[in-house]
Symmetry: C2
């Protein structure tokens, strides 16, 4: 949590987040319906979160990487409302929520920062709602790739070349599409030389045209 804290405050925070946990690829960080006690800060790795309906329907609600915070949804009812699954070997810091609230009473800037993080999650969700509610398949995929690209870039990796950690089916679930549609959209973008797809490896050849794809469906046929 990169906030403007002095060393004493960082010390306090460090006392709270001491416990680390490793999750192997495919392992669960938490299950839907289990008791919530801690938030989890991702130190390394890549996870997905997904909600499930009683009728077996499933929806991936997010893909999460280093530095992001998981478990915010569970604060309201103290029960996890989603599964969190590692898509590659991952490591998280456990942050007991009661303790976080406790020390945030003494570090106003920490509390404020926490509020911003929660708010950012709400903004992100609204963005996904816009995507799911009003975009075509290809626009959704372009938006998704650009989002990943930006997040890799922020973390010091290439924005033009990266490996997907998730399957086509998981991408489809996140984007509200079937896996075949995702696959076709990949192929289409490749045919247009906007990206190069080699299984899980993605190379962005023309960032600008990819950005155009996100915005307007009507300009290209």
């Amino acid at each position: 949590m990169p906030v403007g804290l002095n060393s004493h405050e960082i010390q306090k925070l460090g006392d709270v987040v001491s416990h680390k946990r490793k999750i192997p690829r495919g392992g669960y960080l938490h299950h839907t319906g289990t008791k919530f006690q801690s938030l989890f800060a991702i130190r390394s790795g890549f996870l997905k979160t997904c909600v499930l309906e009683q009728d077996g329907r499933q929806q991936v609600t997010g893909f999460h990487m280093t530095g992001e915070l998981l478990g915010l949804d569970a604060i309201s009812s103290e029960i996890h409302t989603c599964d969190a699954v590692a898509l590659e070997d991952s490591e998280v810091c456990e942050i007991p929520f009661a303790k976080l609230e406790e020390i945030s009473l003494t570090i106003p800037s920490l509390m404020h920062h926490f509020h911003k993080i929660m708010s950012r999650e709400i903004v992100r969700d609204h963005g996904v709602m816009l995507l799911l509610g009003s975009m075509k398949a290809e626009e959704r995929l372009a938006t998704f790739l650009l989002n990943l690209s930006r997040r890799f870039s922020i973390r010091g990796y290439s924005e033009y070349s990266f490996n997907l950690r998730m399957t086509r089916e998981e991408i489809g679930s996140y984007l509200g599409l079937k896996l075949e549609t995702v696959s076709r959209a990949f192929s289409k973008l490749q045919d247009e030389n906007i990206i190069t797809v080699d299984n899980k490896h993605i190379q962005i050849n023309d960032m600008n045209r990819l950005k155009l794809k996100m915005g307007n469906s009507s300009c290209v046929t």
Copy 2:
């Protein structure tokens, strides 16, 4: 905000939320892009929030009624990320956010309650994502009606009979459907005697069958 507060604490909170604002039908509580300073608690009325893309695309992200809190999305960047528009004459309490954070340092239960509210918004958004990502038109509308019904019920109104405040187009935007599709879905539910539709007035005739509609699309043809 119904929390376990003592009278002294309620007094403190009252000092913060003193300012009230009336918004006439069609009026804006806030616009996208304007500076964020306050949250708004709805005292009465009915509002929608919607995000807009640069290309004019628009998505209703929520309908909000008495007791709900607006503006949470704006905490992260201190800029409103959506419009809030009154769908009927409404009244809100303005809650300067800086002051709320300040007093929540001295009232831990208030801070905790606020965290729960933010978390609940995240859970709600995940539910909408599930709806947009995996439900058919009729299921979406059934889910929507049941959600409204429950919220009216909680506020002491009939869960079986109520008036919609929004147009078919707004419902469609929220549900990721075109207005014609919404209209057809209404007609279909009416044909099956599950609801009675008279323009904006909705009567639920068979709550159980409506709930079935929400879950499984495959059971009825």
